[in-house]
Each structure stands twice: as C-alpha cells, then as structure tokens.
C-alpha cells in the first residue's frame, strides 16, 4: 500500500496550535500508530490463544511484556494498542493471524474491528489531567479513584470515548480513543479545557 496513513488531527498539528507550557497537561496524537479491535463470539478464546494474557474482566487493561496494551471492553470485545515505543507489529500480526484462521474455516473466533480508522487516539499525561477531564467528562478519573489499568467507556464532551488509565510508574497517563470523524471538534474541546492549566498539544507520534 503506497498511501500514508493520516491522523485526523494532522491539519491541526501543522497549524498554529496551543503547545504545553508546563507538564500539567500534555496531549500527544498517536492516531498514526496501528490499533485493532476484536469482538464477537469466541473472541476471548481466540485472542487468549494468540497473546500471553488478556484482562480477566471487562473495563480492565493489561500491558504485555512487549508493551502492548490490551483493553477488555466487554465480555467478548477487546482493543489492542501497541506499546508506544514498541518496534513490533502486534496489530498487523494479529490481523493476519485472524485472517488465516478465518480462511482455514475456523469459526467462533470473533471479528476484527478497524479501530485505526474508526477511532482517533490521544495520549494525555500530566499532573492536571484528571482535573481537566473533570470539565468534560462525568466519570471520576482522579488518580486514586480511576486506577491504573482501569477502562471507562463513557462520554467526553458529548461524544463517545474509551478512556484507559496507563499502566506506568510515571505520571498520570490516559489513553483517549474517540470518534475519528469528531477529531476537529475534540481538538477545540481539549485546547479549551487545557488552557487554564497551561496545557496543550505536544505534537504527534511516539514519545
């Protein structure tokens, strides 16, 4: 494939954007990175046979040894995010593996979901993330309430969002996956919400 994947935030990132003045709220666009979802009957069994572990319950996430983050969104629904500094290609490998299994006639292995195209992907980190999110999301995301590895499937500023608390020793980090087509809207929302903390967008790509 010759074409280069484009982030839905691309035109905003290249324009005059509000950059972080401190480490309170730093927002990074990871939308150009791969991501994939699986759902449907048999997904849990199938995915468990492909990776070392899957979260034990819905709305939980785990990080595999290669940095891959697997979030369980339902009894039979998963979201796979590659580690942000990973060099592997877990998403394409899983997709190829699913296609092969499907082609060989295996049934009840769930179905892949085009999460890289249906959802934009932002990573928010900093000391004021929870405080900023309290302005746009009704879920209590404070560090001592929304613990590492927890997942919230909720509404942010009136659009659907998947929020995953990063599993890290560092500062508070939050993955936010929202509607691909609402990126421009979300950009304005986040610029506005982060302004009082001196926060903003720190460019795209891996960190």
């Amino acid at each position: 494939m010759g074409a280069i994947a484009r982030s839905p935030f691309a035109h905003r990132l290249t324009g005059a954007s509000q950059t972080p003045q401190n480490e309170n709220v730093v927002i990074r666009d990871l939308s150009t990175l791969p991501r994939i979802g699986f759902k449907g009957n048999g997904t849990t069994n199938w995915l468990s046979s492909k990776v070392s572990a899957v979260p034990a319950a819905p709305n939980k996430a785990i990080t595999l040894s290669d940095g891959t983050l697997i979030a369980r969104l339902g009894k039979e629904e998963y979201l796979v995010l590659p580690g942000r500094d990973a060099v592997g290609s877990v998403c394409s490998e899983l997709e190829a593996s699913w296609n092969a299994d499907d082609a060989s006639g295996e049934r009840r292995i769930g179905y892949p979901l085009p999460r890289a195209d249906s959802h934009s992907w932002l990573y928010l980190e900093g000391s004021s993330i929870a405080q900023m999110m309290a302005k746009i999301c009704s879920v209590d995301l404070r560090g001592d309430r929304f613990l590492q590895s927890e997942v919230a499937q909720t509404i942010v500023a009136r659009i659907s969002a998947v929020l995953i608390r990063e599993i890290t020793d560092g500062s508070y980090g939050l993955h936010m996956l929202t509607d691909f087509a609402s990126a421009d809207y979300l950009w304005d929302v986040l610029q506005d919400a982060s302004a009082e903390f001196g926060g903003g967008f720190a460019g795209n790509g891996r960190i």
């Binding site: 494939m1 010759g2 074409a3 280069i4 994947a5 484009r6 982030s7 839905p8 035109h11 939308s31 150009t32 759902k39 449907g40 009957n41 049934r107 769930g110 179905y111 979901l113 085009p114 890289a116 195209d117 249906s118 959802h119 309290a134 302005k135 746009i136 999301c137 009704s138 209590d140 404070r142 309430r145 500023a157 009136r158 659009i159 509607d179 691909f180 087509a181 609402s182 990126a183 421009d184 809207y185 929302v189 506005d192």
Partner: protein, 961 residues
C-alpha cells in the same frame, strides 16, 4: 444620615482604598468591602426602590438573602450588593428607579397604593374589551422587571462547568458544618466544605459566640477537607447531585452523603414602615460591625424576642452606638446570659412592648424615630405608646431554618406551635442535617450535633470508626417569637418586601376566599419575588393561621424548589458542547471552496465556489457530472459490518428485500420498515463473503439503525455480529460518463469493463494503492462507482481521483447537486420524501418488498395496511416554469379545497429544462398526465402535471453503461 465608621473588620483591609461609583456618584471603599458595606460606610443607605411602590430600601440582612440590595453592574442585573465585592472603577447602578435610588419620581406610587390592593390586576385591566392589549399590557410590561438587560450585548466572561466527586459534601461552614466536616474527615472520608461567604466560620465571625475549639484552624489544617468559599450550593437533585456555583463555573457534584448545615434565616417583624432604610436584622448590624467595620447608626432601638438581641445590643454599644431602648416582645422573666450583661449597662429595656410604627425622614430616606406600644392581652399593640428618636432599628425576633435545600432533598417541614419552631424530617439516609437548621440553637449543641452527623455520614460512606455518632438532645425552647406581627391601621407593615405586600394584603386575599397558603401565594404573589419567601413565608403562614383559626402546623408553608438563590443564565449555559463530524477530506473541500451545510451532525459540502449565485454553481456541477465526470464525498453514509453465520438471515429479518440468495460480490438495495410498516431507512447491502455483509445506511439514520439492529438481535439471538464502521470508512462516489476512464487510471487489480464489473456488482481491490471496497451503484443515474477506503487514507484517495480526473475536467459536486440529480432520477430520500406514515406501496417500491419471506420487521403491519390503501401516493410532477410565488418543499397539494398531500422535493432541473418534483397527491390523481394543484406559501395555486418520477433516463441506460 451619615454615621461615623469603625473600618476595622474581619473581611476588609482598611489600608487599601478603592474607588467605585453608584448611580454615577463616586465613593471610596476598602478592599474586602461589598457594595452595600462600602456605601453604608459612606452614609449611603438607599440601595434600591421597591417593586410596586418605589419605596427606598436598604440593608436588611447583609447576607444576600433579600431583594433590597439587588443592583445592576454593567449588563448584569440583580446582583446582590451585600455580596458583590467592590473593585476600583466598578460602576454600580440602582435597579427599578426613575433617576437614581436617591431620587425616584415613581415614588408617587407609594401614595397610590390604596388603589392597588392585592390582586387588583386580576379584576382591573380587562374592561373595556381590547384595553388590555392596547393600554395596560404595554404599561405593565414597561414597568415590570428590575434591572435593564441589553440583550444585544454578548455575555461577558467565560463560563464553564466541571464535575466533582466527594464522599461527603457539607453545605454551610458555620460551627456545625465545620464540626461535621472534621468528624467525617477524621473517619477517613473525603470532604468538601461549601460556604457562600468569603470566610468560613458562619456566625462565629459576626455573632457574640465563643468556643474553646478553633474549628476554623482545624478545618483548614485537615488534609481530607477541601474548602470552597464564595461557593453557592443552589439546589439538591436526586442521588445527591449538587450544583455548586463558584465564580463563573458551575460544579456538578456527586456526594455519597450530604450534610446540610445551612443554619438559620433571621426574620423581620411586621410594623408600619418596617422597610425603611436603617431598619435591619440584628445579625445584619453585627455583620456590618464585625465583618466590615461599619457603624450601622448613631442611636438605636432594638426589637428583641430572644437573647441574641442582647448580643446585638452589646455589639452596638461597643461600636459606639447609643442605645435608646430595647423593646422586648416577651413579658418580663426571660433572662439569658447576654441580657444579664446588658442590664449592667444602664440601658432602657421595655418588656412586653412592641414596635408599632417607624417614622421616616423626608422622602422615606431613613428611619428617624419609632413609636413603641405596650402589647395588650390579645398580643396586639396596645394604647400605651412611647416615641423615641433613632436612626437605627435592629430586629432580633426569631429565625426560620434555612430549609430550602433539605426540603428539595425530600425533607418534610413541620411546625411546633408551642416552641414556635420548624422541624425538618424524612429527607433520606444520604442527606443529614447539622446544627441550627435541625433545631440546635446553642453553640455547644450545634458543634456536638455537627460532629455526630459528620461521623454518621462517614460511617454511611463505609468508613470504619471506633466511635459511634453521639447526637445531643435538641433544645426544648427556641429563640422565635410566636407572632411578631403588629398590623397598623394605615398599613405599610410589610410582610413581603420583594412584592410590597402588607399585612392587609394577606388578610384580604384570605377574605377573598383564598384560605390555603398555596392559593394565597398565587393570588397575592407573596414569596414569588427574588428572595423566594425567605422572610415572608413564616409571616404569611402566621397570618393565614390567624385569620383562618388554624395552627401554623395545619397551614404549612409553601414548596421550596430549586434554585435556592439567583443564578445566571450564563452559569447554566456554561461552555457549550456542540459536537460535529467531518470527513477526512474536509480540508480539501475547504481548499476547493466548499459551502457547508449540516447533515445530521456532519459537515458536508453543499456546493463548491464562492460566487453569490449558488444555483448556477450547482447547475454547473450537475451538467459536468451528467456530461463528463464528477466526484462527491459520501463518507457520511452509514456503514455497518454484519458478520456471522446468520448474517443473511439477519438482513432478511431487518429489511424488506431478500438477501439469502444474494451472490457474493453483488449489491442489493435495502429498504427498512418499522413495526408499523413505515419506511424508516434505506441503503445498499454488499455481500463481501458468505457470512459477511457490508451495509450502508442513511447519514442521519445509521446510529438509530445500529441501535435497532442490536435491540432486535438481543431478542433473536442470531449468530451475527454488528459493528458500526461509519467513521472507519470514507467514501467517494465517482460518477459520470467518464467515470470508468478515471478509475481505470487508479486501479490495476479491479477489472472495470461492463462485463467484469456490471451495474450493482461489488469488488474489492486497490484504488490509488489503497485497499478499497468498490460498488457500482447509480444514485444520481450515471455510470458510477462508490469507492470506500479506510478513513486514514481517504484524503489521499480524494487527491488521487482529482489528479486522475484532470484530463477529463473532473470537478467535485456537493450535496445540492446530488440531491437534484437523484430527483431527476426519481430516487427518494428517506426522511425528505417520506414521513411517519409512508409505506413502500405509497412510494411504488413494492418491488423492494419480498412478501414471500416468512418475516421481516413490519411485514404483518404492511399486510394489514395494504388491504386498505391510504388515500395518497407519492407522484412525480412537472411544471414548465417556477411560479413567481415560488414553490417549496412542504407546500400543500390541494384537491377540492382540501389537503390531499404536500410537496416533498422540488427543483428546476438543469438536465430537463423544467421544474420537477415529488409530492404526495390524492391516489386518484396518481395516473400519468393527471393534473394536481399546488398551493404556494402565499396562498396562490398552481397546476402541475403528474409524470413518471423517473424524469431522467427512465430506461437506466446511462447508469448501466
């Protein structure tokens, strides 16, 4: 009236001078002053004029509880002058005044008050016929309202909202609230302490109260307690949802437990001219002295009915105010500790006397003296009188609990007629009361009660504590006089200051037959002003009880609804979130000059170009697509992946057509009806595999259709998985006679000849190097390919098609051109050409209904409805030219003077050179060649000829080429 000032108070910094204006006159205040305190320090006591009679009004509570202090700042109306701080350059104006608060020519209304008895407006303005609309309503509308709002000015300031979560929220940071917060936090709960004042402490800050515990320091030093001052909890909603206004932000808080320690609201006494500036609550005088260092007057009379009044007396003496007399409503024998102190100060105390009348300065600018009366055996003002000069009257006759929030939380108010006291109960386990609002009046009792309730709240949250909540015994007495109302024959004994309602107004309302409190309220408007009955509800209940020979507990009080106090529309609006969606090609459309329209929440190009003549631009786009080649962004079309062994069966049930035998690699039209057989959506099903359909849905309908599918399959439990992939796939419709030539340049793995890729076929391959789902459909009636690709690559696809099409003069076309071309082709748009009753038969689309299927949603209803056909039918029609009056969608189709239907689509067709349209017409007029009558918006009627809706290329030669 100009009193010397102390200017040393808890809230002010007397060294920092600030200048501001009131009604255009400049005044000097100090940092920490409110508008009211600064004006009082300058001897300016008139803050406003009353609603009806334009009587001068001044400080009553100093607690932002009354309408007397409402002023206007800039374009913001009804600001509490006793809450809003001054700042350098602040310009304040009085409200509801002719010239200024000092000089208001409308004060003449005071003399006309006898012509405006209670409810006069109900029986005065309706005769003769028409006079209300022509004369009275304009006058009353001009008079109504307090401030003057310029609605053309934008809201100043940035307003937004935020959520918050706490174990325990304590409302009110007085002694009980602070003790509750400490106890809850000590037990481990996260606590938010909310207080509307700039400083926590409540009455400890201004009243003569002393406690060994330094509660303020304890609260401030506690890591589990967050303190919000200047924050107003303005309501209680279900599940402890609390809106708290803090500056320009509205916080939407959730608390596991709420403790209302909202305290008491001091009540006025009713006597003639009880509204004069200089007459205030005892607590207001104390606030002026202690908080703002303002001496409230030079010579005072105190109206007492409790020991707190003697605390006021001591404070006044210490502030250098002469105490002319203390007039105690109680008979001798009531001796509290503060009274004992005052008796040593050689102050005249008149037990069993009331205040019968206050006498005004010229123009009612201030109180200049009072007439006292000994209370007779009936509890009314007797004949023994005494007159005293004074410039200050302080009333300390009783309180009501600040019950608004507890009652909103489900609490029920009862009245103890013996103790003259309200009680609140029944507000549920997640809402607790603490301190004086719950009938604890002495300081130690308040603190002990607060501590007990705080611990109880923490335990209710699940925190463990070795201690158990210990609640003190409630006081048996109360500081409340049973009826401090002393009507005057000449009236002006105000019950409700907001609405200028006197004792006789309430009495007359009852005499008119409105015996129930809620009826008295509605007839007289008592309690319906800005202060929402805070000072009128009890007095009204007392009067209703008196004049209907019932007890107050039998009469009750009126309902307390949110909000508790004034709030701005801007606060409620906050920062507006209006989501919108854009396709991945949005920036390219912008660069190409797109004019936007909103389809659902999608921004879509209506047409391209900046010329004012949009119709010409649209016609050019049509002509180019018809004769050459065009491209349109169709990414907004709904996209659903339907996968699983039962996928075909699932579609068979969801849609009217049949899909089980649809071959892989083919598409088929989709038509969906609801249970009533009404058409609700359409689209195309592409069979990607035996068990895999890619289904399109209308832009605005897809979310509903997706929900419908999930809902139905939750019952059917078919082996099928449904995924809404609308945003994941962007689409371009490449259409026109040269479409195949353009696409041929972009793909080498999809054979494009008519034989290899016929009309209604579906193919997968790469287009411009991008994996693509391609199907041949013909919405606009030309050779066309709909190319769907992953959204990340869609802008590249748009660019590549544009480049490939250059040699064919390709140009993009917008939604308007597409709608026009589909009308030429006679394709309906669900939602535009259908309504809540449309059946497939009315659309002549029975070809899309597989009646042989055992089931699809709506089948049974259609079978019934088709037995008795409706009277209408969707028909095509033509007109040679558009009438001058213009015809639009929704204009009526009439027959014999009755409505037969309406126009659903109408436009001038550039391809056909005449006006074409679709309309619901009488079924008997559906034959080709019939004449129907269209009624324009101006009422003119125009004849149109019924024609086949397939106006353009009826043989489908062009789209199937």
């Amino acid at each position: 009236m100009n009193s010397a000032t102390l200017r040393k108070g808890l809230l002010i910094d007397a060294s920092r001078k600030l200048k501001f204006t009131f009604d255009g006159r400049e005044y000097e205040g100090v940092a920490g002053d409110t508008i009211a305190s600064a004006l009082a320090a300058n001897g300016e006591w008139i803050l406003s004029r009353s609603f009806k009679y334009h009587r001068p009004r001044g400080i009553l509570t100093m607690a932002a509880q009354d309408a007397n202090t409402l002023v206007q700042i800039g374009n913001e109306v009804s600001v509490f002058a006793d809450r809003h701080p001054i700042s350098d350059g602040l310009a304040v104006r009085a409200q509801n005044v002719g010239n200024s608060a000092r000089r208001d020519s409308a004060f003449v209304m005071n003399r006309l008050s006898r012509f405006m008895p209670v409810g006069f407006y109900y029986r005065t303005f309706y005769k003769p016929k028409g006079i209300w609309e022509k004369v009275w309503e304009p006058i009353i509308r001009a008079k109504a309202g307090l401030g003057k709002l310029d609605v053309t000015k934008p809201t100043q300031g940035y307003y937004d909202k935020a959520y918050g979560w706490y174990d325990v929220v304590v409302v009110g940071a007085g002694p009980a609230g602070m003790a509750a917060a400490i106890a809850a936090a000590d037990a481990g709960a996260s606590v938010l302490l909310v207080d509307e004042n700039p400083r926590i402490g409540g009455a400890l800050n201004y009243a003569r109260l002393a406690t060994e515990r330094d509660l303020v320091s304890e609260v401030k030093g506690h890591s589990k307690i967050e303190i919000w001052t200047d924050a107003i909890c303005n309501a209680w909603y279900a599940d402890n949802w609390l809106p708290v206004i803090r500056g320009n932000r509205l916080y939407k808080l959730r608390a596991k437990q709420v403790i209302f320690a909202t305290g008491l609201i001091e009540q006025p006494s009713q006597f003639r001219n009880n509204d004069l500036p200089g007459i205030m609550q005892g607590s207001a005088a104390q606030r002026l002295i202690r908080l703002f260092g303002v001496k409230p007057g030079n010579r005072a009379v105190i109206l007492a009915a409790n020991d707190d009044a003697y605390g006021v007396a001591l404070d006044l003496l210490e502030a250098g105010v002469d105490l002319a007399a203390i007039c105690d409503l109680r008979k001798a024998g009531h001796h509290g500790p503060l009274r004992s102190e005052i008796t040593q100060r050689n102050v005249s105390i008149l037990d069993g006397w009331c205040l019968h009348e206050a006498q005004p300065e010229k123009g009612h600018s201030h109180v200049r003296g009072v007439e006292l009366a000994e209370i007779d055996a009936e509890g009314t003002a007797g004949r023994r009188r005494r007159r005293i000069d004074c410039d200050l009257v302080c009333m300390s006759v009783g309180y009501v609990p600040a019950y608004q929030l507890p009652l909103q939380a489900g609490g029920k108010l009862a009245y103890d007629d013996v103790a003259a006291q309200f009680t609140i109960d029944g507000q549920g386990k997640a809402v607790l009361l603490a301190g004086s609002v719950d009938g604890f009046f002495d300081l130690d009792g308040c603190i002990a009660h607060g501590a007990g309730q705080g611990l109880a709240a923490a335990i209710n949250c699940g925190y463990q504590s070795e201690r158990r909540p210990a609640l003190p015994v409630r006081d048996r007495g109360s500081p409340n006089h049973p009826c401090p109302i002393f009507p005057h024959l000449k009236g002006m004994d105000f019950v409700d200051f907001d609405e200028d309602l006197q004792v006789k107004d309430i009495k007359n309302a009852i005499a008119d037959g409105y015996r129930e409190l809620e009826l008295v309220k509605r007839f007289s408007t008592v309690g319906m002003g800005p202060s929402q009955g805070r000072h009128a509800a009890l007095a009204t209940a007392m009067l209703v009880s008196k004049y209907t020979n019932r007890t107050i507990s039998e009469v009750g009080v009126t309902t307390a609804r949110p909000p508790v106090t004034t709030e701005k529309i801007a606060t409620l609006a906050g920062r507006k979130f209006t989501p919108f969606r854009q396709t991945p090609m949005h920036e390219q459309h912008t660069a190409q000059g797109a004019a936007w329209l909103l389809a659902g929440n999608w921004l879509r190009p209506a047409y391209y170009g900046h010329e004012p003549d949009a119709k010409r631009l649209i016609a050019e786009e049509v002509v180019n697509a018809r004769n050459n080649v065009g491209m349109i962004d169709v990414s907004t079309l709904g996209g659903l992946d339907v996968r699983g062994a039962d996928a075909a069966e699932f579609l068979n049930r969801m849609y009217t057509f049949a899909y089980v035998k649809l071959p892989v690699g083919k598409t088929r039209y989709l038509l969906m009806t609801n249970e009533a057989g009404t058409v609700i959506d359409d689209g195309v099903a592409c069979r990607r595999g035996e068990n895999y359909f890619y289904v399109t849905a209308t832009t605005t309908g897809v979310d509903r259709i997706y929900r419908n599918m999930l809902w139905w399959n939750a019952q059917w439990r078919l082996d099928v998985d449904i995924a809404n992939v609308t945003a994941a796939y962007a689409g371009v419709n490449l259409a026109g006679p040269n479409a195949r030539k353009v696409l041929a340049q972009l793909t080498d793995d999809i054979a494009l000849s008519p034989q290899d890729f016929p009309y209604l076929a579906y193919r997968e391959g790469t287009v411009a190097g991008i994996p693509a789902r391609v199907f041949r459909v013909g919405f606009i009636g030309e050779l066309g390919y709909e190319i769907h690709v992953p959204s990340r690559f869609a802008s590249e696809l748009w660019r590549a098609i544009g480049d490939a099409g250059k040699e064919f003069s390709i140009r993009p076309f917008g939604l308007e051109a597409q709608r026009l071309m589909r009308l030429e082709k006679g394709h309906v748009i669900i939602g535009q050409d259908t309504d809540g009753m449309t059946t497939p038969e009315e659309l002549d689309m029975n070809w899309a209904v597989a009646n042989s299927k055992p089931f699809f949603i709506g089948k049974r209803s259609l079978e019934i409805r088709n037995k008795t056909l409706s009277s209408r039918k969707l028909v095509g029609f033509v007109l040679d030219r558009m009438p001058m009056a213009g015809l639009q969608e929704s204009n009526l189709v009439v027959k014999n003077g009755s409505i037969a239907g309406f126009i659903t689509s109408i436009a001038f067709s550039p391809s056909l050179g005449r006006v074409i349209g679709l309309a619901y017409a009488d079924r008997s007029d559906a034959d080709l060649g019939s004449r129907i009558v269209l009624r324009a918006s101006d009422g003119s009627e125009h004849h149109a000829q019924v024609a086949s809706p397939h106006f353009y290329d009826p043989e489908n030669l062009r789209q199937e080429m």
